[in-house]
Symmetry: C2
Subunit: 193 residues, 2 copies
């Protein structure tokens, strides 16, 4: 596969938000490169600054942090999503988030410097960024609400719906910490179905 082909999926993604000129397409193709991760591979260490954003083409990336020695899953990537450590990536400083690959995962990545170049030269990229973040906002608000006002079982049901195609590939302990419950409780919830 040449690079133009590999970035087709990404173009489709961008075009949900902005039209892509040929010039921009070519600039994107030059700057977006494929990289794969083996199952269990660490994609980002919290002790480093996140300088790359990964677009998941196949597989699952997980964002997590460590609290009291335990890994707390914050987020699972679906396919066709950018994954990075937001504050680290945008503000070029360390943050608490690790990223790893739950299974063998194919991604394309862009370096923060290249992205900044695109922001500086293609105002539509700024627009893309604003619009795509906007949709994420709603998800965040819903999740905050659900953490406060729904039972563990309701949250698990919702999780299964949102992650319908991948939830069974994520280890139980990771799902539990994502939902804010213990493994034992999640195991019992599963059992009584």
């Amino acid at each position: 596969m040449n690079n133009i082909e590999t970035t087709e999926n990404i173009f489709v993604h961008f075009e949900k938000f902005i039209p892509l000129s040929e010039t921009l397409k070519s600039e994107l193709s030059k700057r977006i490169k494929p990289v794969e991760f083996k199952k269990g591979a660490l994609v980002l260490d919290a002790n480093t600054i996140c300088t790359k954003s990964y677009f998941v083409n196949k597989g699952i990336l997980r964002t997590y942090f460590i609290k009291d020695g335990k890994e707390i899953s914050e987020y699972f990537s679906g396919v066709a999503e950018w994954v990075n450590s937001p504050r680290s990536f945008m503000q070029r400083k360390k943050d608490i988030y690790y990223i790893d690959a739950i299974e063998h995962t194919e991604t394309y990545f862009i370096n923060v410097n290249d992205l900044v170049y695109l922001f500086d030269n293609f105002p539509e990229m700024e627009r893309y960024s604003r619009l795509s973040m906007g949709t994420l906002f709603g998800h965040f608000m819903e999740r905050i609400a659900s953490m406060r006002f729904t039972s563990a079982k309701e949250r698990y049901d919702h999780f299964q719906r949102v992650y319908a195609d991948i939830y069974h590939r994520i280890p139980l302990g990771m799902v539990a910490s994502y939902l804010g419950i213990t493994q034992e409780t999640l195991s019992r919830i599963r059992a009584e179905k």
Copy 2:
């Protein structure tokens, strides 16, 4: 106060993220207008589309939704923040959020159409939007984490720190639903200090 004066605070806010040209300042001044709300006034009804974004200069706005007949507070504005119903405002459709004024509140507002005009004609406004949203992201992620892994008391302590200057002006019931606990529990937490 003429309008140029009233928008000074907002200029300071913008300049935390982007430099403001004189042209842009003048365009902003033309489009940003003051409006005040009495204590208890409804700023946005969930049954309508949110077409204005409010910049709080004095007072407190609250975003809430209704679940099982009860008001659940989602967010309290600090001073110098934009408040709107994000998905409604950005996607021009109804959403579940109401906004009201907890006390007499002074704001400046901009209409969504005017904002779109600015986005279309001043790429730096897109950049402002991207950067300012970026900082909010971190707050959302922290709140999601805190809802899952901290006790009611810890969340209340954190709330007091974050809203140090206004927390005592917000009625207990509203604080409780914001924290995801009952009024009774919050009352007991307060009592034992």
